[in-house]
Symmetry: C2
Subunit: 303 residues, 2 copies
């Protein structure tokens, strides 16, 4: 029998409270956000072992099903960036928004909305500030070990990777919002890099060839590698080699099993896409995600 | 801001170990089980507060996405049965199989397979036996409360509802497998009722009108109500009235929010179906689940 690892979820404070009182349609207008798919909170370590915080933008189709952020191709590219830094598991990822942005422009309209900001800051505090966790866990276990430190009482994060403009804005709003946060941010290296799917979006918007926007994105990521490498204590030997002009297979890394909830199928973590919006018109398309086991993971006898 | 409840998952033992070493294709042949969608373990309370154990058969489409058992229409019918007993939250549900049966006959072929049985018995022990849980939780929290009992050290289950033939078989295999289990089962009321979608399956298989098979199913459920009511300590006032000849709206009850993982959309718990297998041929159909927000939950401005 294989031993499986999985994400334990949000049992300890402050995370139990954070997933209990998240904002809904009163803060996220349904015209601009797909609130109907529910909030997606995070991916990675919430036990204080994270060394890098990654801030993404908003969850897409794969995230709506797997209930963790940055799981699709964007997530695999980020996982590859972390691998270059020698980081395999010791990270935590959050998004600017809990819900999927409906129409790219909507993303820019709400980054400073007070209710959205307040809740986001609670998450950033929880993973970045040393005293974010109260010292009592809600589910008290027997006192077999007389003195242990609370599991999330200190943050080991030394670097923040902000993916794209909105993530950089969101981090800036946090660090500027209190002296304590500002002091913490001075002990953090901020790498504000291109969003992992910048190349695709930019090519569509500008008409430039995808090859060119991809090369520009990879040059941007390469340029951030030396400073990131210096700011992060690696878990395994880093490899800070620059990216080439296009993505290679080795640049993408699968999501670790321990990042997804118990029992999640292995193909939810793999590189092949498996969740797409589907529908004959805009209304149906907003309502529908088609989940399909990728061809390479169809391990049953052919039907 | 609304306060949301959610299922905390499998953090405490023995559940953390159970979701770490579940059987895969080596025990569940992929020709007979949809192992590709991953195992679905349970729904409901794992903290010792369950008063009723429900044993279902196998997960279907809604369960593959929500990652909890008995969430689709079958689950709503069971939830309605529990409501008649005055049970709103104090239950736990398991299935005979971790994976969806592919072809109904396959379900009958594997109910006694040793690897499947052994793992199922570990779950039944965990929710039924008083000493299933080791007294130390894997995530030790500070010793602020000097003497508390382990959260799952005792079972308050007094009744078992087995849904359908296979569930009854599975429970019988458990109670016959050791003196300790047999002794425990003597303190349990077993209600072996028709499966919640018996009527549909039986009508398809026999050619009888669905009205007749539905009436037969509801008569069966009604017949079990008095003894179940006597065996269960209710949380709220029970209403043991018999079912009518067909399902009414009041017979179905939505899944409680606290049964699903954090952030799960509300429509995942509601009566309208939202997950169907989809595909042009058998191969594609096995590979695909189409997830669609039900019309009544499309709360965005019309597109």
């Amino acid at each position: 029998m294989v031993t499986h690892r999985s994400c334990p979820g949000y049992v300890d404070e402050p995370f139990a409270s954070l997933v209990a009182d998240y904002p809904g349609a009163e803060a996220y207008p349904p015209g601009d956000f797909r609130v109907e798919w529910g909030p997606v909170f995070h991916r990675g370590r919430l036990d204080g072992s994270a060394r890098v915080l990654v801030i993404g933008q908003d969850p897409a189709t794969h995230e709506a099903i797997s209930r963790r952020v940055l799981v699709g191709e964007a997530g695999q590219r980020v996982q590859g960036l972390l691998a270059r830094l020698g980081i395999t598991h010791s990270y935590v990822m959050l998004n600017v928004y809990l819900y999927s942005v409906f129409g790219q422009a909507a993303g820019y309209r709400h980054v400073k909305d007070p209710d959205i900001v307040d809740y986001r800051h609670r998450w950033l505090d929880a993973v970045l500030l040393d005293s974010a966790s109260p010292s009592v866990s809600p589910s008290v276990t027997p006192s077999v070990t007389p003195s242990v430190t609370p599991s999330v009482a200190s943050s080991g994060v030394t670097a923040v990777i902000a993916l794209g403009t909105l993530a950089k804005r969101a981090f800036g709003l946090w660090e500027d919002s209190s002296p304590e946060r500002e002091a913490r941010s001075r002990r953090l290296h901020l790498a504000a890099v291109r969003h992992p799917t910048y190349a695709e979006g930019s090519a569509r918007a500008s008409g430039q060839p995808l090859e060119d926007t991809t090369a520009a994105q990879l040059a941007d990521w390469s340029a951030h590698l030396p400073a990131l490498g210096a700011a992060v204590s690696p878990e395994v030997t880093p490899n800070l080699r620059s990216y080439g002009e296009s993505w290679t297979e080795r640049d993408l890394v699968a999501i670790p099993e321990q990042d997804l909830p118990p029992g999640a199928p292995a193909w939810w973590r793999a590189v092949d896409a498996w969740a797409v919006r589907d529908g004959a018109d805009a209304q149906e398309k907003r309502a529908t995600i088609r989940v399909a086991v990728p061809k390479g993971a169809r391990s049953w006898p052919t039907l």
